[in-house]
Amino acid sequence: MDFIFQPWPWFISGFLIALLMFGLLLLGKRFGMSSNLRTFCSMCGGGKVNSFFNYNWKKESWNLFVVIGAILGGFIASHYLSVNTMPDLSESTKLALQDLNISSKNGYLPYELFSMAALSNAKTWAILIVGGFFIGFGARYAGGCTSGHAISGLSNLQLPSLIAVVGFFIGGLFMVHVLFPFIF
């Protein structure tokens, strides 16, 4: 039982993710999380403003149930299946965190960004808003996110997904190595 409360090893997690994708394919669906963001826009009447959101979103509503499940899963995993300690990072990453003024004695997420107290800092708001905007804008522009391209698309050996994943890494590496020192 102790295994449940420990962080799961990568090979088990990776296998289970592939199994989930397989399950969705057998149900006649495709694994992808960012399309839900578009569905939200359509549900809120986005179709009246722009034709991109004017589609039969009810056909995609199955994915909203996956979202409900993911929220429940996060609740169950954090409350009943974890001790919520910080991930066991490499020493060099911990050292680098100091330069960002992020404590290496945090919980699952850095308190400096994701605690209620952090919201008293305007910079936290800016980071969350800009980060979220880029995620939503970029995922739709690229036609998918990590699940849609890096898992689903690459599993089907799609060149466009490979280009998208290369893009994910160009953006991510530039953010962490070039922009982080200016932001934090």
Binding site: M21, L25, L26, I71, G143, I151
Partner: protein, 137 residues
């Protein structure tokens, strides 16, 4: 009935994301610093089995639960949209340390500031829709 299956699949997904630490900002940061194999191991394993499962579906022409052939549509050919869109997504992924799946998982885990991230991501999707025809695809 099917709704319950989707909720259950989502629930398993949420638990995996949380327990594998793929939903932790720290792991994303570490991944982009190439200082741990962890995230590459998760994505690599998922991919290896993913390719295997897709090949099995194709080779044995497996049908879905409704008896329809499983056809995975090819993505449209283009470079700019995947590259530019991908780079923008990557910037956000690294800054916020979360991608769309884990955002929902972290909402459930009770991190309130994630809601700002989620709303902003919906806004970003909406603005993309408004600008879509003016962007290179």
């Amino acid at each position: 009935m099917k709704k319950i299956i989707y909720i259950l699949l989502g629930l398993v997904f949420g638990v995996i994301m949380y327990k594998s630490e793929a939903a932790s900002w720290f792991r994303i940061y570490e991944m982009f610093r190439f200082e741990s194999f962890h995230m590459y191991g998760i994505i690599g394993t998922a991919l290896a089995f993913g390719i295997l499962f897709v090949q099995i579906i194709k080779k044995f022409k497996i049908k879905d639960i409704d008896g329809q052939p499983i056809v995975i549509e090819d993505k449209e050919k283009s470079v700019p949209r995947y590259l530019i869109g991908g780079i923008i997504f990557g910037l956000g992924w690294a800054l916020a340390g979360a991608c769309p799946g884990p955002i929902f998982v972290l909402v459930g885990a009770g991190f309130v500031p994630i809601l700002i991230l989620l709303l902003s991501a919906v806004l970003g999707t909406f603005v993309y829709g408004l600008l879509k025809d003016k962007l290179p695809h």
